[in-house]
Amino acid sequence: MTSSTLHTSLRRVMIVPPIWLILIACVVFFSFAADNFLALNNFTNILIQTSTIGLIALGMTVVMINGNIDLSVGAVVALAASLSVGMQDQLGILPAVAVGLGSGMALGFLNGVIVWKTGVDAFIVTLGAMIGVRGLVFLYTQEQSFFSMNFAYADFGMSSMAGVPTLAIVFLVFTAIMHWLMTSTSHGRNAYAVGGNREAAQNAGIRVGWHMVANFVLVGFFAALAGITLSTQMGASTPNLGINYELWTITAVVLGGTKLAGGSGSILGTLGGVLTIGVLRNGMNLMQVPAFYVLVVMGVILIAVLFVDQRVSRREAEELKL
């Protein structure tokens, strides 16, 4: 009895995703090691810098909790950015942004329906889409970069509300919405059920196919949104935007504790993962460590987190057996 209460209370503590401990350690370290780290506007800087990968990671988390994956997000970033910058001369800014977001959602829908109907693994379906969507980007842009002629577009990327950059607010608001979606709605519950055991979820009456499609539309939306916010920061788009973003995003999500096999993970964990990468980048930058070292450190941390996680879950499994 007591041991099981102890176990539940331990579980409670473990609800705070372990990546937050690493994040706190990083923040403490850089507060001492880097002079300008512990300043309010540096933290808003970090939020802006991480918002791009962060937004994509929100959608990716849900897809990965489902036991799927989306490798096409980097290409969708470029497509949405190119459409929303390239079309604003003819359509105006808001309709162009809508076209950009729509393109991401449409491609997400396509990916989702293919995964659902054909039964081909999401890794392969979206690997194909990653290559193909980049083709769409080059087809639309004819290999050109686009510049926004309307300064309102770039101004949005630089703007702030009550001292907080708008892009940071966008990221935090969507994080809150997604956290609510995953913890307080039936869609969130279903996501874990589908990822945990697809067949059981279906037998329990969940419409697994449409559920997965909805999540692919979500990740498409977030990838497109990330592309658009990124292009507002530059006031421009390039056809090579977003290359390798799928890998960075997966890194952030996995750092946040989401399992590739599906069935577990959380938005709070992903936020921790995204911020850890952001803090590492920013802190090492302030310490004037060349950006190259961040790549090495991140790779090592990713593997180390995986290693620790495996030891912990193995111990838990052994305890359950007893």
Binding site: L71, I114, W116, L127, G128, G132, G209, F292, Y293, L302
Partner: protein, 338 residues
């Protein structure tokens, strides 16, 4: 008596060879080969330059780098794992061999480069094989780490071989043997060698066993960790061979030259019909998969389409190829998921 039985068995085998069941099986297992042949015929009819010896050997040369890497990755995938670190490793090894060429000479450079590649493969192998960590994440971490190491090594600069005339290092990327380009030789010889290893040796059987059913293979006394470790060594060595071709062809290297190769290589492996679940696949399939990618690119260019048209076609072809494979195993075109 036993001999007669065996002969009877053989002749009944022969009778069954032309049954409907067999035709279906051949269509199922060799679908990608048949599609490939149809595809070649279609392209040959639409462009008279397509089927020429010159053009075909150009395609082989072009796919030799991705193809060589894909051979190693195929073995990792058959063993039930992924290797996403090959793109970064290609950057690193190419930079290394090119940079060291002028410092310690071509022979030393090649030796050090292969040693470095094998070291990276050993780290992958230790983490995935012995520590039993998830291969996608381990090699994703390695992708990042090796990219960083490459940039640290070069200081963010690109590297060049200064004296491009007075070195035999040009052999691997630019020379021809018996009318066939050396990169093509490297690709094909490695393919034959690895095919023999996979199909004719105990090690090869173990790779299939470990990838197909880890539990059963463990009970049969196969040491999974060692086998997986070796598959990563092979993958790294194959990537080293690709770096040899690339470095020698360009006689220089950008520090991110292999970026994105990991997923393109995987596309070739998947297109060939090697299952990402492990336990099935083959080297010839990967050769065909990579050649399909190469011929799509080449054919579309010859027909006057821009180079990115191949990406759109590749998208459709990858999904169709795997879908047909999955559907034929399932016995129905669509899933029954609601």
């Amino acid at each position: 008596m036993a001999k007669a039985d065996a002969q009877a068995g053989r002749s009944s085998d022969r009778q069954r060879l032309i049954s409907g069941e067999n035709v279906r099986r051949i269509l199922q297992t060799q679908g990608i080969l048949i599609a490939f042949i149809l595809f070649l015929v279609a392209f040959s009819l639409s462009s008279d330059r397509f089927a020429s010896f010159d053009n075909v050997s150009t395609v082989f040369r072009q796919v030799s780098i991705i193809g060589t890497i894909a051979l190693g990755v195929t073995i990792v995938v058959i063993g039930g794992n992924l290797d996403l670190s090959v793109g970064s490793l290609l950057s690193f090894t190419t930079v290394l061999v090119v940079d060291l060429h002028d410092k310690i000479g071509p022979t030393g450079a090649i030796l050090v480069m292969f040693a470095a590649a094998l070291a990276v493969g050993a780290v992958n192998g230790l983490l995935v094989g012995f520590a039993r960590l998830n291969s996608l994440i381990v090699t994703l971490g390695m992708l990042s780490a090796i990219q960083g190491v490459t940039l640290i090594y070069t200081g963010g600069q690109n590297v060049d071989i200064v004296d491009q005339e007075g070195t035999w290092f040009t052999f691997f990327g630019r020379d021809f043997l018996l009318g066939i380009a050396v990169p093509t030789w490297i690709f094909l010889v490695l393919a034959v060698a690895l095919h023999i290893v996979l199909t004719r040796t105990t090690f090869g059987r173990r790779v299939f066993a470990v990838g197909g059913n880890p539990t059963a293979s463990a009970f049969s006394g196969v040491r999974r960790a060692r086998v997986v470790f070796s598959t990563y060594l092979i993958s790294a060595a194959a990537t080293g061979c690709a770096a040899l071709i690339l470095g020698s062809r360009v006689m220089g290297s950008q520090n991110n030259v292999g970026q994105g190769y990991e997923l393109l290589v995987l596309a070739g492996v998947i297109l060939g019909g090697t299952s990402l679940l492990g336990g099935s696949g083959s080297i010839p399939k990967t050769v065909i998969g990579v050649l399909i990618l190469g011929f799509i690119q080449n054919g579309l260019l010859l027909m006057g389409y821009p180079y990115y048209a191949q990406w759109l076609v590749t998208w459709v072809v990858i999904i169709l190829a795997v879908w047909l494979d999955v559907a034929s195993k399932r016995g129905r075109l669509f899933t029954t998921t609601s």
